[in-house]
Symmetry: C3
Subunit: 360 residues, 3 copies
Amino acid sequence: MLLTYDAFREAVEDDDRRRSLLFEDDHPRYVLFAQQFSRVDLVRLSASATAIRRMDRHRDGVGFLRSILSGKRVLNLFAQPSTRTNESFVAAAEKVGATVRVVSDLRTSSFAKGETVEDSVRTLSSFYDLLVSRHPDDDFATRAAWALRRSRRPIPVVSAGSGKSEHPTQALLDVYTLQYSFAERGGLDGKRVLLVGDIGRNRAARSLALLLTRFEVRRLDVACFPGHGPDPALVQALERARIELVTHDSLPKAVQTLGKELDAVYVTRLQQEWDTGAGKLGTSEDFVLAWDLRHHLREDCVIMHPLPRVNELPDEWEAHPGFVVWRQVRNGMWMRAALLADIHGATDEIMARARRLGVA
Amino acid sequence: MLLTYDAFREAVEDDDRRRSLLFEDDHPRYVLFAQQFSRVDLVRLSASATAIRRMDRHRDGVGFLRSILSGKRVLNLFAQPSTRTNESFVAAAEKVGATVRVVSDLRTSSFAKGETVEDSVRTLSSFYDLLVSRHPDDDFATRAAWALRRSRRPIPVVSAGSGKSEHPTQALLDVYTLQYSFAERGGLDGKRVLLVGDIGRNRAARSLALLLTRFEVRRLDVACFPGHGPDPALVQALERARIELVTHDSLPKAVQTLGKELDAVYVTRLQQEWDTGAGKLGTSEDFVLAWDLRHHLREDCVIMHPLPRVNELPDEWEAHPGFVVWRQVRNGMWMRAALLADIHGATDEIMARARRLGVA
Amino acid sequence: MLLTYDAFREAVEDDDRRRSLLFEDDHPRYVLFAQQFSRVDLVRLSASATAIRRMDRHRDGVGFLRSILSGKRVLNLFAQPSTRTNESFVAAAEKVGATVRVVSDLRTSSFAKGETVEDSVRTLSSFYDLLVSRHPDDDFATRAAWALRRSRRPIPVVSAGSGKSEHPTQALLDVYTLQYSFAERGGLDGKRVLLVGDIGRNRAARSLALLLTRFEVRRLDVACFPGHGPDPALVQALERARIELVTHDSLPKAVQTLGKELDAVYVTRLQQEWDTGAGKLGTSEDFVLAWDLRHHLREDCVIMHPLPRVNELPDEWEAHPGFVVWRQVRNGMWMRAALLADIHGATDEIMARARRLGVA
C-alpha cells in the first residue's frame, strides 16, 4: 500500500495510528518522534543500554557487541552540523559493530544539480543499511522515511534531530539517565522534575516532557524564559496524561519554593541561534542554577543538562553528588547503541548474553 | 625504465600500447580509461560483480568477501565533489574488506604551501595501498599514476572521473547493467541502444559508447542536444569498430521511429554545470522521455540513467518493467568491488568460492 | 590532587617535574613536548617502530598488530588543517587496530554556541579512548590534557602540533629516521647534523634539535634564514647539553665548509604562512640545497626534509643514496603506531612477538 507523503505524515503524527507504520514486529523501524515509544519500549531500551554499557567493560562482551551489527553500514546524513550528536551516533554504531560514514555537506551531493531530495536520499541509501538523519527542516526525517519505505530497499531511518521540534534520541537518553539515577529509588514513577529554559523551542526539554507522560508522573514544573512557555501541543499531551503543569517565571524562585521536593532539575540554555539579532550569548540570572541554590536542594537531587551550556550551570556543580551531566553524554552513546540494536531485533540476544555474562 | 610524463601519456592513449603499461599479469593496475578494458576483461568483471552481489547475501559469503582486501587501506582523493561516486567506492571497498579514507579538500593539504602535485600525491599515498582519484583536470589521474609508478611504492590508481572525458567505472557499471539485463536474451551482442543527451560532454554516455565497441553491436543511436553531438575521437572509435552511428535531433522522434526495435534507452541530463550563464536547470521536452512514450517501447526495453536526473526521466517510469535506474546505482557498488578485487588478482579466488557456495 | 591550569603548565614545562605528570608506569600518557622523552624512551620507541614495520609485511604480524588497540577509538581533533600529519596518525592508529575519527571543523561543534573549550573537549572525548590534537594555539594540547586529567575519563592526549613551538611526533620520527639511517654506523652518537632553515619557527627543526641533546652529539650546525636563528630557550637547552651551536648564514657555504664531515643535512622550507604580506613562495638560493652541492658531501650523507618542500630540495636528490625523505614519511606512520602502542603499555608485547616472528 503506497501512501502519499501527506497521508503518511498524518498517520505518523496520530497517536493511535503511528505504531503500525513506524514499528515492525514490535521493534522500531523508523525513529521519528520521542512519543512513538511506549513505556514497555523505554524499559526495554534502558535495560539494553545498561547491558551494553556493562558488557563493553568485558573482553568477551566487547567481541559480542561488535558482532551484533557486523557488516552493517550506517549513513549519518547531517545537513545541520552537530558534532556532538554525530559523534555519539558514530560511537554507538561502532560499539555494536557497524561501520559509519558521515555526509554533512549536501552541497557536494547532487542536490545542487537539480535532483529531488527523494532521489538524493535513495541514491545515498543504496550503499547503506540504515540512515541517521539530522536536518534543519521539521519534516526531513519523516520525508526520508516515507521515500525509503516506498522503495525496494526500505532501510530503517533514525532522526537525530529535525528542525525545532523533534530530537527523539536525546529524549531517550534523558529518560534513561533519570531511570538510571533513580534506580534505587523506585525509578521515574512519582518523581518530581523541574525543566528549565525554552520549553517550546528546546527539542531536548520538549521531547523529555512528552516522554514523562509514559511514567506515573503527577506533576511537571517548568521554569520558562519569558515568552517561551510550552506550546499548545505539549500542553495538550500533558493534560491527556493528567500531568499537572506548573509554570514558574524564575529558576531561583522555583528552586526556593520546591526545594527538597525536587528529584531532578533539568537545565537548558537559551536557544539563541534561532533568534535574529541575538545579543551576547548567555542566560540572565533568572535562569541560572547558581551554585548557592544547592542549599535548597536535596543532596541526591539529580542535576542534568543536554549541553552545550553557556553560563546557566556553573562549573562548581561538578562537585555535587547529583551532577550527572557527563554521564548523560556517555548514556547517549549507550542508548543509541541499544536503539540501533533494537531496530535490528537484537535486544533479546543482548539481554540473554548479558545474563550469561552476569551483567544483566 | 622511467618514462617522462608526456611519453607515458602518449603511450596510455594509444590503443596498442596502453595495455602493457596499465595492466600487470593481465589484471588492471591503473584504471584510467573505459576503453582500456577488453571484452574478456568486461566479461570477467561482470561475472565477479554478480558473484560478489550474491555472496553478500550469505553469512559465509560476507565473511569471505571482507577477507579479500583485509588490511588494505584505500585513499579516495576527491578534489571534485561527488558524494554519489565517492560513497559507491567507499561501500565497494568496505564490502571487500578494505578501509577507506576520503580526502576532499586539497586546500587543507600542502598544495597551498607551494608543494607540487607529485609531492602531495606521493606523500598522501605513502599511507595507503590504493588511490581512487576524482579531479576536474582531464589528466590528473594519469599524472598521479605516472608519478606513483616511478616511486618506490607504486600503488594502483583508479580514476573515479577526470575532467569531462573519462569516467571508466561508470562505463563498467553501465555495461554490467546492460549485460545483466540482457542475461536471458543473449547478452549485449546484437542489441540496439539509444543514448540520449550530451554525448560529447557526458562522461557516462561517452564512455559507455566506447565500451559498446567491445560487443557485436552493429548500430548506435544517439539523440543529442543541439551542438552537443559525439566528438571526433568517439566518431572515429565507432567507425573503427564498424558501428553505424545514427544521430537524432529529438528523443520523442527517435523513440517513435525506432520503437519496438530498441533494447535499451540510456537517458542523461543536460550537463549545465559546465556552461557559463546557464539558465534554469532542466531539459527541454525534446530530450525528456515522457511517460507517454512507453507505448512505443517494448515492455522489456531497458531504461537507464546515470543520475542525478532533473526532469528528463519522470518518476512514473519506476513502474515500468525495464526501469533499472536504482539497480544501476547498486551495480556501481558491486562492479567497483569486483574491480578493486581484480586489481589485486583476487577474481579467480572469488569465482572459486562463489562456485563452492553455489552462487556463481 | 587537582592542579590549576597554570600550575599544571608550569610543572610540565619544567624538565625535572614533567615526567611524573606526563608518564604513568614509565610509559607516556600525555605527549606534549619532544623533550619529554629520555634516551631510553627514544631507543624503545625506535625499536618498536622497526618491529611494527617489519611485522606489517607478515600475514601473522598484520593480524597481531591489529589486535593491539582493537576496540579503541581515537579522535583526531584537527583545528588546524594538516592532511599530511592527520593521515599519518590515521594510518598509524589503524595499523595497530584502532578506529579513528577526524573532527576538523570546530565551527560545526558547539564552540559557536558559547561553550568553553574544556566542555567541548570533554564532550567529544566522552566517545573516544585517546585524543590526538592539532591546534594553532601554543597551549591547546596542554590545556586539553589538563582538562581531561581532571575528569572521570582521563584519556591520553597526543599533540600533533600546537602553535609554532611543539610538534613532538615529528621530532620522534626524525630521530628514528636518523637512528635507522646510522644503524650500521653506530647510531646517532657522535654524528654531525646540519639543520637548515627557520630554526626558531619551524617546529620540526626546533624539536629535532631538542631531541639531539639526548645523544652524544658534540656540535650542531645550523644554517638559518636571516633573523630566524635559534630562540633563547633552544640555545639554553643546547648549552646545558654541552652541544656547541655553530651558526651559518648560507647553506652552500656551510656545505662547502663542512663537506665530508657532515653525516646528515636536514633541509626545511621558509615558513611563509606565518608572515603577513609574504611574497611569492620559495627560498632564496642561499638556503637551497642545489644538486651541485652533492660533490661536497659524502655518498652516505643523509638528506632529510619534513615536507612540504617548495624549491629548497630539488627533485634530482631522489637519485642520491642518502635521500631518505620518503622514508621519513613512512617512518612517521611507524613511529606514531609505536607511540600509540607505547601509551597503552604494549611495547613489551610487540617486541616479544617480533622476536618470536624473527623480525626484532
